[in-house]
C-alpha cells in the first residue's frame, strides 16, 4: 500500500475510534442522569426526614429512639455526600475523553490531509500534543502522556516538581 493510502486508512481508523468514544459517552448519559436524580431525591428525602423529626418532636412518639433516628439520618447523609463525590468522577471521565477525542480528531485530520514526509508536520504534531497536555486535568494523565508520547525537546519539568505545582483533588484555598 502507498504511504498516502496508508494515511487515509489510518485517518479512517482513528475517526472511527473517536465516533466509538462519542457513542459510549452518549449511551451511558441517561443512566448517569438517573443516578443524579436519585441522589437529588435521597437528599431531599433526608431533608424532609429531619424536618419531620423536628416537627413531631413529641416525647411520647419518638423519645424512645431519638438518638438512633439522628444517627441513621446522619449516616445516610454521609452516604449521599459520598455518592456526590463519586459521581463527579464521571464528569472528569467525560472531560478526559473529550480532550482525547479532540486530539484524535486532529490526528485523523493530519493523517488525511498531509504527506507524512513534510518537515512542517513535526510542528503540527508537537502543537497538537502540547494542546492535549495542557488540557489534561490531572498530573497522572500528563505523566501517562509523557511516558507514551515524550515531548521532542525532552522534559523541562520533572514529575516531582509538576506534582508540587498542582493542587490536590478536593483541596480548598481561599485567597
Amino acid at each position: 500500500m502507498e504511504k498516502t493510502g496508508q494515511s487515509t486508512e489510518a485517518a479512517q481508523a482513528v475517526a472511527a475510534s473517536v465516533a466509538q468514544i462519542e457513542l459510549a459517552v452518549r449511551e451511558v448519559q441517561p443512566s448517569v442522569e438517573a443516578l443524579g436524580l436519585l441522589i437529588d431525591q435521597l437528599s431531599s428525602g433526608l431533608g424532609a426526614l429531619r424536618t419531620a423529626r423536628r416537627r413531631n418532636d413529641n416525647p411520647d412518639v419518638v423519645a424512645v429512639f431519638p438518638d438512633e433516628f439522628d444517627r441513621a439520618v446522619d449516616k445516610l447523609q454521609k452516604q449521599v455526600n459520598g455518592s456526590i463525590m463519586h459521581l463527579q468522577f464521571y464528569d472528569r471521565l467525560v472531560q478526559h475523553l473529550k480532550h482525547v477525542q479532540d486530539y484524535l480528531s486532529g490526528t485523523a485530520g493530519e493523517l488525511a490531509s498531509h504527506s507524512m514526509c513534510d518537515p512542517a508536520d513535526a510542528e503540527v504534531w508537537n502543537s497538537m500534543r502540547e494542546r492535549l497536555r495542557t488540557r489534561l486535568i490531572s498530573q497522572a494523565q500528563r505523566q501517562l502522556l509523557d511516558a507514551m508520547l515524550p515531548p521532542p525537546e525532552g522534559f523541562n519539568v520533572n514529575s516531582e516538581q509538576a506534582r508540587a505545582e498542582c493542587a490536590t483533588q478536593g483541596s480548598v484555598e481561599l485567597f
Binding site: 436524580l37 441522589i39 463519586h86 463527579q88 490531572s138 505545582e165 498542582c166
Partner: protein, 121 residues
C-alpha cells in the same frame, strides 16, 4: 435566604452542586456557561455567592470572574472557582482576575459547605 449562582457546563456537576447547596438550605440559581451567568448578573440578578467552573464554552470561568468584578453590584460578591484545574498557574490567574477562592474537583460536600459558610458569613 442566601442565594447562590452555580455555573458549570456539565449538567451532572450542576446537579451535584445544586443538591449539596439545597441540602444546606441555600437557594440556587444555575447557568450553563460564563456568558449565561454574566447575562443573569447584568440582568440585575442579586446573588450572595457565585460558584463557577473554569473550562466552559462561550465564556470560561476566569473571564466570567473578571467580567463580574467589573460590574459595580458584583464587586463585593464572593466568587468561588470550582474546577478540575489544579495547576498553580491557573490558580494564580483566577486570583488575579478577582476570585475569592479555588476548590479542586471532586469537591467534598461537607468541605464545600464549610467553605461557603465562612465566605458568606
Amino acid at each position: 435566604m442566601t442565594r447562590i449562582l452555580a455555573v458549570d457546563d456539565s449538567p451532572s456537576m450542576r446537579q451535584m452542586v445544586g443538591v449539596t447547596l439545597k441540602s444546606a438550605g441555600y437557594e440556587v440559581l444555575e447557568a450553563c456557561d460564563g456568558q449565561e451567568a454574566l447575562n443573569l448578573a447584568k440582568g440585575q440578578a442579586a446573588v450572595d455567592l457565585v460558584i463557577t467552573d473554569v473550562n466552559m464554552p462561550n465564556m470560561d470561568g476566569i473571564t466570567l470572574v473578571r467580567e463580574l468584578r467589573a460590574l459595580p453590584h458584583y464587586r463585593g460578591v464572593p466568587l468561588l472557582v470550582l474546577t478540575t484545574e489544579a495547576s498553580a498557574e491557573k490558580k494564580m490567574e483566577g486570583k488575579a482576575a478577582g476570585a475569592t477562592g479555588w476548590v479542586v474537583k471532586p469537591f467534598s460536600p461537607d468541605r464545600l459547605l464549610a467553605t461557603i459558610a465562612r465566605i458568606v458569613a
